[in-house]
Symmetry: C2
Subunit: 358 residues, 2 copies
DNA sequence: CTAAAAAATGTAATCGATTACATCAAAACT
DNA sequence: AGTTTTGATGTAATCGATTACATTTTTTAG
């Protein structure tokens, strides 16, 4: 307001000094000067070269190379409100399917010049929210959420800051948001039914839960119960074992269960990692699979076919999820209106770990 | 220069209009106005709250919440020349070890408020270079390179733009750059020697190569040859099989080799994926492992112990690599002077897939 | 050859923060 | 009380691009 209030001379001294000292990266101004054009022209050469006469363009390009000029994305983003950057929030990279999905996603969006920014939430909703905030500050144009049913805080935050997002891995039907995934409930129901079809009636269900519980866990439980009721079997909570998401945990849990005299004819696992743990327990106990006990997995890891007891599992379309999420988000970012639900399908991979009792 | 050259009135009309129309995110100005302080104070509340009187601070914080203010990282980066962002360039996420390393890296740098930006190079040096350029534009403060021996173009580019970087997975001793990794050559030599110690003399070496060749491939070849010469065996190029980095390829290659009458007593694989392929070929051919043929892997995937023939493999310290790379880069970014070489070690995991011939 | 239209280029305001320095206020000394 | 020190806050230049609009140059049409 009162601009005569301060003495400006000192400021300029400082400025001159720093110009001499600092070994900065060349800016668009330097390029413009060297090429003898205005910054506007340089900028156009970089983003809309067809607007610039050929001879000028080559001159500018030469200057860019000579100076080793690299555009300052921060300045560009500040002006354009576009970072050409997409955030990806994933619970963990240790789950192979997630890594595949991310890789496919990255490839898809990279084709449109978007760069992926990664956040690992460790299955922690608070951390997820914090990551989203961080990504918002970074100015991401969109966000891909993998494998968690984010709570309302997250989605409403994203809505408030106008960042479009895609949820992936599973989905909800009654949602205004965008989903790319498969039907967890139906898929678990399917593989459970497969086991029932083979004559099993005395089964238990291992599902990743405990500290890693999320909406998907719940859907999987329901899928299991659906199959139970399809076959008019009696359900009890005792059939479901929630264990942390790692082989060691499921190994111990199965071992415990068996030593307590619980003798199911089949163990249905909600993911392959748990199935591997069960398999290890079986080996220790001396159970043959599938002769003494049947075991199924879920995820469709390639390797399940090479285990000492090749495991029947449900293959999840991880790569497809990545691609479709990428496309969905790209559409969202260009104001095309992608469908809110892209339903993908799992495929049963028979490994032979389910014995027919009929 | 001639500022009286243009008519400015129209510009301002546009401006006012856009202010009315655009539904922008609140800026630091809005917060300042609402809290009745200057933007400087708001800024200080956010970055150095201890400099602001408590009552003012709470007022500002309340305004931040009320407006749902999110700081604009681009503006901050533009002014400070710091993005709090680190680029990660990886050949692929499909290799479990890389994913683990990245996850550990992300965790390490996230603790210091850095965010990871991901680039997948697909084992392509050109793409790698392009990714680095892209990351430089994004303003990353540093870069982590995984599993590739980047060519000089990359390192000299990074030097020119003043972006510190860490190379990981393997290392070079005679380098001014920073490395975190293990000695590929020595590790392959060790597992090869292990096989020789068990009396094998007729061995072949499967190494990921072909389109995915890189410096590491070469180091591994050398490690194999080192062991050969340690045992005074005769070397021939025919002992080395370069195959693409996937199980299918190694399966086919071993099958081909076997059908041509090549009958080694052991197959040494430079990674677990190739070993799995060989194992599959063995199963198809009807070879028992290790009774009819010995097979070793390299990577130390957990799952190798659960295969129908548990495979002896060399465990790579992936997580450690991620952590140490993170620390190294963090030090580099704070002008501490980390050592240029952090050598980590592999451990032999005996699966029982090597038969003793003695 | 001139006028009109189209193409190329330049000017300078602008995006939203940070921060050096100035200023003002309050506390601590004489 | 007056002076100095310390603490809190404000002012406004600055970072490096983009881009609306003005201006100049070139091309096309008459």
């Amino acid at each position: 307001m009162q601009s005569d209030k301060y003495d400006k001379s000192k400021r300029f001294d400082k400025l001159k000094e720093s110009k001499k000292i600092a070994r900065k990266r060349p800016t668009i101004n330097d390029v413009a000067q060297l090429a003898n054009v205005s910054t506007a022209t340089v900028s156009r050469c970089l983003s809309k070269p067809e607007l610039v006469r050929l001879d000028v363009r080559t001159r500018v390009e030469a200057s860019v190379v000579e100076l080793g000029y690299v555009l300052d994305g921060a300045a560009k983003t500040l002006k354009t409100h576009q970072s050409k950057t997409i955030g990806v929030i994933v619970p963990t990279l240790e789950i192979g399917g997630y890594a595949s999905a991310i890789q496919a996603f990255e490839k898809t969006v990279a084709a449109e010049k978007y760069t992926a920014i990664l956040g690992v939430s460790d299955f922690d909703a608070d951390k997820e929210l914090q990551l989203a905030h961080n990504l918002a500050e970074k100015g991401v144009d969109g966000i891909m959420l993998i494998g968690m049913d984010s709570d309302d805080r997250l989605t409403s935050f994203l809505e408030k800051v106008h960042i479009p997002h895609v949820n992936s891995w599973h989905f909800r039907r009654d949602s205004k948001y965008h989903w790319v995934g498969f039907d967890n409930r139906a898929a678990i129901q399917a593989i459970t039914s497969y086991v029932f079809q083979h004559g099993h009636r005395d089964v238990v269900f291992f599902v990743g839960g405990a500290e890693h519980a999320n909406a998907r866990t719940e859907l999987r439980r329901q899928g299991f119960m659906d199959a139970i009721s399809d076959y008019n079997l009696e359900f009890s909570e005792g059939l479901i074992f929630e264990v942390p998401y790692n082989s060691k945990a499921s190994q111990l849990e199965f071992h415990r269960l068996w030593s307590l005299g619980n003798r199911p004819t089949a163990v249905i696992c909600a993911n392959d990692i748990l199935a591997i743990g069960v398999l290890r327990a079986c080996k220790k106990i001396g159970l043959r699979v599938p002769d003494d006990i049947s075991v199924t997995g879920f995820d469709g890891l390639d390797i399940m076919a090479d285990l000492w007891a090749p495991i029947t599992t449900m293959a999840v379309p991880a790569k497809q999820i990545g691609e479709e999420s990428g496309n969905c988000l790209l559409n969202l970012l260009t104001d095309k209106n992608p469908k809110t639900l892209t339903e993908l399908h799992c495929t049963l991979v028979e490994g032979g770990s389910v014995k027919s009792l009929i």
